[in-house]
């Protein structure tokens, strides 16, 4: 397992190398990428200039680890690597990387999907959108049970 929170750019190759094994025929890779637009509460689309991520570092690392462990116990997967960027991110940069290896593809896809969803629920990381003429911290849906 490899967990990383970093202010530097995220390149997939080291994470793919970390999870791949000769006995595992599948590696699923998810990249969350900074999009150049968003829709506000009133449904109006705005042009995003850049994002800024803040994190409760110690807790976020621990929660990422727990999310990875949960997936490893729930699916017959081989290994998991998760990396999240913090600080200022420009349009097109990778904010989140999840790589999952498994003997067969189905489990890798399912576990990868689950990990991304759980990260958005429980990991204390927040993004601020900065657009033309304003900025706001984005808040996810409050989730009943962490």
């Amino acid at each position: 397992m490899l967990i990383e929170i970093t202010a530097g750019p995220l390149a997939p190759e080291p994470f793919l190398q970390h999870v791949r094994r000769d006995d595992s025929g599948a590696v699923a890779l998810f990249l969350g990428v900074v999009r150049d637009n968003s829709v506000d509460a009133a449904g109006v689309r705005r042009r995003v200039l850049y994002l800024e991520y803040d994190a409760y570092l110690e807790m976020a690392e621990q929660k990422l680890r727990e999310v990875a462990e949960e997936a490893l116990s729930r699916w017959p997967i081989t290994d998991v690597a998760i990396a999240h960027r913090i600080g200022r991110l420009e349009i097109g940069e990778t904010s989140l990387l999840v790589a999952v290896s498994s003997p067969h593809r189905h489990e890798a896809f399912a576990a990868c999907h689950h990990i991304v969803n759980r990260i958005k629920e429980v990991v204390p990381i927040w993004k601020k959108e900065v657009w033309e003429g304003g900025e706001a911290w984005i808040e996810g849906e409050p989730v009943g049970e962490k």
């Binding site: 621990q62 904010s95 927040w126």
Partner: protein, 85 residues
Amino acid sequence: MKATVKFFAALREMTGTRELTLDVPDGQTVNGLFRELCARYPRLADYESALFYSVNAEYVSPDHGLRDGDEVAFIPPVSGGGGAD
């Protein structure tokens, strides 16, 4: 007893600080501490219904009792991950 409080994201901007160390009465709960801080930073009160609490980097319930030296954080709904919500 003493507790350290951490603020992140919108709450950090509202309070203008990342961290405070406070004297708290014995038996104080995390929600009680939050309400005390709302007196100092009134805009925090808007967050009460959406907030999660952590003590020493673990999620806890609002009525969790504090101990000397605890590190408390008030956690707004998280929004990490990709740009593709």
